[in-house]
Amino acid sequence: MLLWIALSFYGCGILLTLPSVASRRPALPRSALIALCCGLVFHGAWIELSAVRLHRLPVSDLHSAISFFAFDLTLAFLIIYLRYRLVWLGLFMLPFVFLLTLAAALQAGRSFDSPNFRGGWVAIHVASMFLGYTGFFITFAAAAMYLIQERELKSKHVRPLFQRLPSLEVCDKLYYRSLVFGNIFLALGLITGFVWASRTWTGPWQYDPKILATMVTWLIYLVLFSARASGTWPGRRSAYGAIFGFAAVMVTFLGVTFLSGQHGFLPRP
């Protein structure tokens, strides 16, 4: 129920944001920010209540995992907006958040419990993974904005829709910082995951597809990071890399969920 309220706030927030993207008016209207904050509050409350009810972080099944991800994204967006005032970022993130929350709300109530998912390590593991993915989503958004802005500048035609895109330098900064952030947390997630799995699971869990895919993803982003840091791949190519990397993230998260045995969110048959 709470989730639906949060959802409607997100929806309002998006609708209020959209006009600002194309116009030259400064910043998001106050009302949009307030709507988003309200949505966040309700969403957070829902997560809190679920956590209390389940005695752990409610991320064990697909829908609550999605919801947690959406929550992270919205929180990240607001924090970044306060720092950089990037209206355009909202255009990327908020509809995505809305879809995620919608998916979560539609499936609410079908969570299942498993003794495996209790305990501190899991919580840190899952939370880190999500923070990592949040970082990489922002990297993706920054990369996309960079590419669009660059194309606009090269074409020498300023289309009104893209007036408010952030400068290349800001896109680049955002890209870099979110990349670092994402890398750190994904690494943390992988490490804590290993620790926890080595204690809990039996069998050759090392070859679980999800874990492998995640490691590949992390490697991709690590490559991106080192390329960017050394200056070998500045600008356009990095951006393409980030978009490719995000595709990998989506594969890891969604695709493998349905394939993986122990690691999946669906109850094992």
Binding site: R24, L165, E169
Partner: protein, 421 residues
């Protein structure tokens, strides 16, 4: 609302005529005092800029403000009406409000959306207030004009994009580099236009300037003006790598920076972006440089194209601004008319109330001793009658506020009820 305005602008007169009518700000106070000292003129406002001179006045009730203002002009400027009348425009009543709102919103400026007019209007307003020339309607309208100007600026994109080539260059630089602080500007070929562009970049935050010119002395001169460094023209390519923004306007018939040279520059800069503003004809920078990653080249045509597109967008925003102004004009007219209506309503009520009391007094004897309830009933009856009688005229007047028949209606009501004193 006895408002009248006379003015002259870049639309109506050439500069030789405008400069004759100009009133320098040092003489503004005296002119304003002179204006409102005249019999029949209660308030005055003078806006005098390089592109316009507007004189607005609010006349006393019942006086003809227009000839008085004409007289002031003739006296103050000692000008020949025959020669200059055709350059003047006159506004009366509601049109004065509309004109002032449009001027403050930069809709009547030579370059629509220019930012100076609002500040200039504010100066004019403050000068008039200081001279004691604003006390009523005109003060209200001026303050509202400033508010409308701010609203237009806030709610439309009217003044936000660059409409000159040098500002366009700054805007583009910002799109690449974000803030310009810490960025280096390289002036390749000292000339008027490159100097202007560099000046804009510096005022937008660029911190270091390098100048190279065939004549080293000229380069030093320009560098000194910016607090920058002059660089020898020979082997300039080696120095260019320090530049984030290059403004190029040499008289060279050939290219200074070829595509290959740019590749080397970018490599030396570890692919940090470079922005070339090539305002030279023939061009200095190989257009193919734009195809390189992290290099952006805009020649003079490109910049003018950007300006053209921005102007088109300004015109679109101007349409929205005009709508806002119209809305505000209506709102202000309605408010002014209501305010002017209030004394009439009060006078009307007072008049009928005094009639009512007089009649009750007259008939006190014939009514005899009344109980308190009966007295109360008589009061209520007479008051009720008056309210119902008054309801019609008052509603009619209120409903026509701001409309064309309003003034005539109010006058009629005053005449009918005998409250014109």
């Amino acid at each position: 609302m006895n408002l009248v305005l006379v003015g002259i602008s870049h639309r109506s007169a050439p500069v030789e005529v405008r400069e004759r009518m100009n009133i320098h700000e040092s003489r503004l106070g005296a002119a304003l005092s002179d204006l409102v000292a005249r019999e029949g003129i209660r308030e005055g406002l003078i806006l005098s800029t390089c592109n316009r001179v507007d004189l607005a006045a609010a006349g006393e009730e019942g006086s003809e403000a227009e000839p008085l203002l004409r007289g002031f002009l003739a006296d103050y400027h000692r000008y020949d009406p025959a020669a200059h009348d055709r350059h003047l425009y006159w506004y009366r009543g509601a049109d004065v409000v509309r004109h002032l709102f449009r001027v403050a919103s930069s809709l009547d400026s030579m370059i629509i959306g220019e930012p100076q007019i609002l500040g200039q209007f504010k100066q004019a307003y403050l000068a008039a207030r200081e001279a004691g020339a604003l006390s009523g309607t005109l003060r209200d309208v001026s303050e509202q004009a400033l508010a409308v100007g701010r609203r237009v600026r806030r709610e439309t994109g009217l003044g936000t994009s660059a409409v000159s080539v040098s500002y366009a260059a700054v805007e583009l630089a910002r799109k690449i580099f974000g803030t310009l602080g810490g960025k280096t500007v390289f002036i390749l070929g000292a000339g008027k236009m490159s100097e202007l562009a560099a000046r804009h970049l510096v005022s937008s935050g660029a911190s270091s300037i390098l100048v190279a010119n065939r004549t080293f002395a000229r380069a030093e001169e320009l560098a000194a003006a910016f607090g920058g460094t002059a660089v020898p023209f020979e082997g300039v390519l080696d120095h260019l790598q320090r530049a984030d923004i290059v403004i190029s306007s040499t008289g060279s018939p050939g290219l200074i920076v070829s595509r290959a040279a740019a590749e080397n520059l970018l490599a030396a800069r570890k692919q940090r972006p470079m922005f070339f503003v090539d305002i030279a004809v023939p061009r200095d920078i190989d257009p193919a440089v734009n195809d390189l990653d992290n290099a952006f080249v805009y020649d003079i045509d490109d910049l003018e194209q950007v300006v053209k597109e921005n102007l088109a967008e300004r015109r679109r925003e101007a349409v929205r601004a005009e709508k806002i102004v119209e809305e505000e004009v209506e709102r202000t007219l309605r408010r002014l008319a209501s305010r002017e209506l209030a004394p009439t309503i009060v006078a009307l009520e007072q008049r009928l109330e005094s009639i009512r009391r007089a009649e009750i007094e007259r008939y006190r004897g014939r009514l005899g001793e009344l109980t308190p309830e009966q007295r109360e009933s008589v009061e209520a009856l007479t008051r009720g009658m008056l309210n119902k009688i008054l309801h019609g005229p008052i509603t009619e007047m209120k409903s026509r506020v701001g409309g064309p028949e309003h003034g005539a209606l109010v006058n009629m009501v005053r005449k009918i009820f005998g409250i014109n004193d």
